[in-house]
Symmetry: C2
């Protein structure tokens, strides 16, 4: 058994963690009929304030904070040890001097009108884990990086997992900085200018391949932990995810003067597509893979006026599963739906698939550390898969990566009603802290 | 036969009319793949420029221009006559001094990405009719008002026919000025502030009940004139129109982490509603009234993000027919659709019907004047109904009102591909000018 890990878990401070999460919840806070919501999109004032608070809290804990060129934040704790002088490298990526660090974190951005735990829990739990190691007097052999990745949710510049895609070398810094988004005033802005605007475009590239291991804590976003009465999940695999873009073009025309038989209504056709995608996912669940999901999450009508027959509709589809064949079947049926609508309704259609990630198994060594940390602290853990994408998908390509879950009340997330009890936040953080200490080589004994 | 009317028709100048319409088309012009489009919403810079140009052209023709408190524009031509001194009233509404005027016009606003004829043709044709009377040396007994009503299309402040509702006394000036719209920057603005911003909030109220008769020329927006090869339509009745607002509330949740069986997807439910409305209209057309139409023209999803199961959808429905029972049947079936979706999908729904106008027959005396003007000029006319709403619906409640149509190529409108040949514009304007001269008492002879 790892004694250091156990000491660390006990040193996790529920109130200190809660205070950070409650403070972070104020940035981009929205009025919600029920629960607590926030909208924190990359490059906004809310995002600037959330980042500045994190930097302040990392510096309070004595971490050496670096901002890379795409706005990824990393705060390094280098424990006092014989290797101390060497391991204080002066760029984030130069961890080749001294032992390779272990890292943990998540993201601070949110979906529009999202919840207060999705992302921030993982960032502040990682910081709390470091503080717990410090308080427990544990001196692991490896440095520990506390990380917040830029735009995990993919709301402005990319389809998701932006910062981690750069850290994993799947996208270059240059490609990322050129990504453009609506500026909300009829123009566009790039990630580069958005980060400049909030003072968070740094230098260099956070290089995840330099880490010895990575571990993320996140809210589960489904009901399995709650149903099982288990406080911490250890993820076995993350589902694959693909995003498709569909366009349906009809004929914009006067809603009063155009007889029903003379119309090519893009919205009526698009409505059939929405229902076809839903039906495809349901049938794949019933026949092939019960973890498959398919969603039309966004739909935009043009010109979107009451008295105009809709002329064009743009839709975005999200398809996921741990089974790649099941994903392919849903996508294939979405394409066939558009072909049918061209034949039966005379619309023109377009289809693209700009984002596609295969299912990702989690690393056995990291999962083992998590299970051991749970056992040492007397906390039950449950193996389960992740239906949501996480930055950990990218990191698993370049380092040993793991993912922990805390329970989500009623499985709700991406919604102000998203909730994880403060006790559950602290319990999951204890497992995270113990596993991190273990992976970082804290208090190893020959007979552990 | 009315000799004056015939002289006037021949004096209509096709190129002068075209020049005005082409100049007006520049205000709010948009790039279009095909055709010529414009977006002219009330209170925008494009709307200001279109209004200023009209005022300039009315003043060039010697009209006395008044702006009322809701931005309705009226330019009065008072022919030289024994009654001249008396009939030059100093407010638009004080037409009780001298003979009551006749009036003609339409509107300058457009739907988003609309065409260049819908509205402006009727305004500039009315101005051209006055210029033709002047050029022909015709001195009718009654003054003639050339009118442009505020926000016929109902894109910002009301559901449609805003300015004419005030002119007909169906809505007070105060009620109209308080109407609020999105300002495009997250706030709201009122009609009052929007008109102030462009310098077109005048005084008093244009009072349509003071007119002896009203006649509007508009593009047909369907294909009946084109199919019949007839250049001018004389409208028998305008269909009733009702607007319904529906809200469908489900549960916003993570698109990856929420199993298909655990969802309450507001967009999937709303898609069924769109198709139910379409089906209801088609079946009413087949069984009861072939002129009925039902359209879901606008649909807004919240939060409208690819990776979030839609939590709420707002829809707007447009239902029209000359048969009030047929309209009621479509609305009833839309309500039943929502009730079914509550039962079958667990969504919550809301339904409102903020706008409802009964079918409106056109006045026989005005229709007669139009037919006589066509006969006198050797121009064939066709009786037909209007499937679109027009300001004339309101005016028919307070004066003798008529509506003329010019052909729409392929029936297309509310679209940059909307087109009426310049020859057809001029031909319809000749009938308008002749009918107006007739109604205004030009060149009447005892044996006409």
């Amino acid at each position: 058994m790892n004694e250091g890990a156990n000491l660390v878990g006990r040193a996790v401070d529920r109130e200190r963690l809660r205070a950070d999460l409650e403070r972070n919840a104020e940035f981009g806070a929205i009025k919600a009929e029920e629960g607590r919501g926030r909208t924190v999109l990359v490059g906004t004032e809310a995002n600037r304030r959330a980042r500045e608070y994190l930097v302040e809290r990392m510096e309070d804990a004595g971490l050496d904070v670096r901002i890379d060129a795409v706005g990824n934040l990393a705060g390094r704790w280098t424990p006092d040890s014989p290797a101390d002088a060497d391991s204080r490298s002066d760029t984030v990526s130069r961890s080749d001097i001294g032992p390779a660090p272990v890292a943990a974190g998540s993201h601070l951005d949110s979906v529009p009108e999202g919840g207060i735990f999705d992302g921030p829990l993982g960032v502040y739990a990682a910081l709390e884990a470091v503080r717990a190691m410090q308080d427990a007097g544990v001196q692991p052999a490896r440095p520990v990086d506390v990380v917040s990745f830029t735009e995990e949710e993919g709301q402005r510049f990319a389809s998701g997992l932006l910062g981690s895609s750069v850290a994993a070398g799947e996208r270059t810094v240059g490609e990322a900085l050129e990504l453009a988004a609506d500026d909300g005033e009829g123009g566009t802005l790039t990630l580069e200018s958005a980060l400049d605007a909030i003072g968070f475009r740094g230098e260099g590239r956070l290089d995840a391949s330099q880490w010895d291991a990575w571990l993320e804590l996140h809210v589960e976003q489904s009901e399995r932990l709650e149903a099982a009465g288990v406080p911490v999940g250890v993820v076995t695999a993350i589902t694959g995810i693909t995003h498709c873009e569909a366009v349906v073009r009809g004929e914009a025309d006067h809603a009063g003067a155009t007889p029903m038989g003379d119309r090519t209504d893009a919205l009526a056709a698009a409505s059939e597509f929405v229902l076809d995608v839903e039906r495809a996912a349901r049938e794949v669940v019933a026949a092939e893979s019960d973890t498959a999901v398919g969603t039309v999450g966004s739909l935009d009508v043009r010109p979107n006026a009451t008295n105009v027959v809709p002329g064009a509709v743009e839709l975005e589809v999200d398809v996921r599963d741990v089974d790649r064949d099941a994903m392919a079947e849903i996508v294939s049926r979405a394409r066939r739906s558009l072909a049918r609508l061209e034949r039966e309704r005379g619309v023109a259609t377009e289809f693209a698939r700009p984002f596609d990630l295969a299912p990702t198994p989690m690393n056995d060594r990291v999962r083992g550390a998590a299970h051991r940390a749970g056992e040492a602290a007397g906390i039950e853990t449950l193996d389960l898969h992740s239906g949501a994408a996480h930055d950990t998908m990218h990191l698993a390509d370049v380092t040993d990566a793991g993912l922990l879950f805390a329970p989500s009340r009623d499985g709700i997330s991406h919604n102000p009603r998203e909730w994880t009890d403060w006790d559950d936040c602290a319990t999951a953080t204890r497992v995270l802290a113990g596993a991190l200490a273990d992976l970082a080589g804290a208090g190893e004994t020959p007979n552990s």
